[in-house]
């Protein structure tokens, strides 16, 4: 039997809150799984669904969109818009039966290093239960 499945997770983290939260987790030496590949974006509201889709179709096992808590957005309302966009995207994937549960949205502030670490742990655990993203091995998508 091959070795244990290690999910690949792509994280889009907003510059002002979630990325700083991830940074804090690192500087505070909080341990969390190395499965996540972080992409820093200026705002969760700037993450178009095309990026999330592309990650999933290329075989990412989960995608995390991290933003400021509602009401705390550096650009006032980017996270509210991101929320709507991700609700729409999950709704579409649900209708198509394409595993919307691989998309995670979390509000993580700059002071929540522990929450970031816990979130990554949770995503890794749940994704291991789900198994690898079947898109990863598809050559004809």
């Amino acid at each position: 039997m091959s070795e244990e499945f290690e999910p690949k997770i792509v994280g889009f983290l907003c510059n002002w809150c979630s990325y700083a939260g991830a940074d804090l987790a690192g500087t505070s030496r909080i341990q969390y799984p190395s499965n996540i590949r972080v992409i820093r974006v200026m705002c969760s509201g700037s993450v178009d669904t095309v990026y999330v889709n592309r990650a999933l179709l290329e075989g990412a096992d989960a995608v995390l969109i991290g933003g400021c808590h509602p009401g705390d957005c550096h650009y006032l309302n980017g996270n509210y818009k991101a929320r709507r966009r991700m609700v729409l995207m999950k709704n579409i994937l649900e209708t198509l039966g394409l595993e919307p549960e691989r998309i995670w949205v979390r509000w993580i502030s700059a002071s929540e290093g522990q929450k970031f670490a816990d979130t990554v742990k949770e995503i890794v655990e749940r994704t291991k239960e789900m198994g690898p993203n079947p898109m990863g091995k598809r050559w004809n998508v």
Binding site: T49, V50, N53, R54, L57, E58, G59, G67, P70, G71, N77, N79, Y80, K81, R83, R84, R85, M86, V87, L88, M89, N91, I92, L93, E94, T95, L96, G97, L98, V105, R106, W107, P134, M135, G136, K137, R138, W139, N140, V141
Partner: protein, 367 residues
């Protein structure tokens, strides 16, 4: 609001409406009319802008949707709106598309009055061009019955064949078509437009009942359509569904809602250096070219589905005959329900993706 009937002249619906539109031009009330006009060969019909009443040869019930009149109004008015009065005759799906384009600042209805016509459905271009039997496609569609079997699937499961957001409605439901066409002037502009035109009183209740019945039967067909396609789900079925896609982007070009001046997928955003492709092949084992077909479709759905008016032009444009409506109608139904949004319902309404409420979707982001 006035509900009247336009008496049929010479027993011919086409002439009757044509004369009405000619009259609008002759009276000087409008400088131009845009309405469906058959090409000389009779093989096709297009929204045609007419200003010379002698050249007016409209057939507003021609059962064909080569393009959306909504898109054409956008092309005509998006640089700058009109100084001169224009009247546009369109169907309900075109009306809905036009309302969405207005919200997107891609169409300007200044000095534009809208005449909506009841639409019993349209045929695919090839069926229209060489219509079987002795009747013309227009005669066949107005008679109903038999013609249904040739109709586009988008029309069979039409969301609403009766136009709402218009100044004047020309109706075929709830009236005796041998006697007249139903006329409903809904706005002051519509009232003014038809001033001086001879109309007779008709039974408004019969119209209300007929429209209700048509809507009910269409809703039932649409619900059944969605139900029957509920098994197109999951990675195997969805990849199979798009197996014949050649990535031509015709669906995007035909779509009245795909509003971007340059589509992301027509840009060089996804052009990578050769090494990246080799790395992808090494990573996945293999991949097909052209790449990103699925990415294109799913992203397109994300961008346009809330405004989707279900006109079926995407399906009609597909060179591989992919029955796109089979998945678009269910996706549109679910997504629009989630946001309680109906495209074309109200031109003042904001698009769902540019507004938000603080107290909505509160479980997203926490669990």
């Amino acid at each position: 609001m006035a509900e009247m009937m336009l008496p049929i002249q010479d027993g011919d619906i086409k002439t009757t409406v044509n004369d009405l539109l000619k009259g609008l031009l002759r009276s000087g009330k409008v400088s131009a009319v845009i309405a469906m006009q058959e090409t000389p060969s009779g093989k096709s019909a297009f929204p045609t802008m007419v200003s010379d009443p002698e050249k007016m040869d409209a057939n507003v019930f021609a059962p064909l949707l080569p393009v959306s009149t909504g898109t054409m109004i956008s092309r005509i008015t998006k640089v700058r709106g009109s100084n001169k009065p224009i009247t546009v005759v369109l169907r309900s799906c075109e009306m809905r598309a036009l309302m969405e384009l207005v919200k997107l600042n891609q169409a300007d209805l200044t000095n534009v009055t809208l005449i909506g016509v009841d639409c019993p459905g349209t045929f695919p271009m090839n069926t229209y061009s060489s219509f079987p039997g002795d009747k013309t496609p227009t005669e066949a569609v107005l008679e109903g019955g038999e013609a249904e079997k040739y109709m586009r699937s988008a029309c069979l499961s039409c969301k609403d064949p009766v136009p709402e957001n218009v100044d004047v409605v020309i109706g075929i439901y709830g009236v005796d078509l041998k006697k007249g066409l139903f006329i409903d002037t809904r706005t002051d502009a519509g009232e003014k437009l038809l001033e001086g035109i001879e109309l007779v009183k008709t039974d408004a209740k019969a119209r209300v009942k007929a429209v209700e019945d048509v809507r009910k039967s269409k809703d039932a067909v649409r619900a059944k359509f969605i139900e029957e396609r509920s098994d197109i789900k999951g990675i195997d079925k969805i990849t199979e569904f798009f197996d014949t896609c050649v990535n031509c982007h015709n669906c995007m070009k035909a779509c009245p809602i795909c509003y971007c001046k340059e589509c992301l997928f027509d840009s060089s955003v996804f052009d990578l250096e050769a090494n990246k492709y080799v790395a992808k092949a090494e990573n996945k084992g293999s991949f097909k070219t052209p790449t990103d077909s699925m990415l294109f479709h799913i992203t397109r759905f994300n961008h346009m589905i809330l405004s989707c008016v279900e006109c079926g032009l995407c399906e009609q444009a597909c060179p591989s005959n992919i029955p796109l409506m089979d998945i678009i109608i269910p996706i549109a139904e679910n997504a629009q329900k989630e946001f309680e949004y109906l495209p074309g319902r109200d031109s003042e309404e904001k698009l769902p993706m540019i507004v938000y409420r603080e107290d909505e979707f509160q479980d997203v982001g926490e669990k």
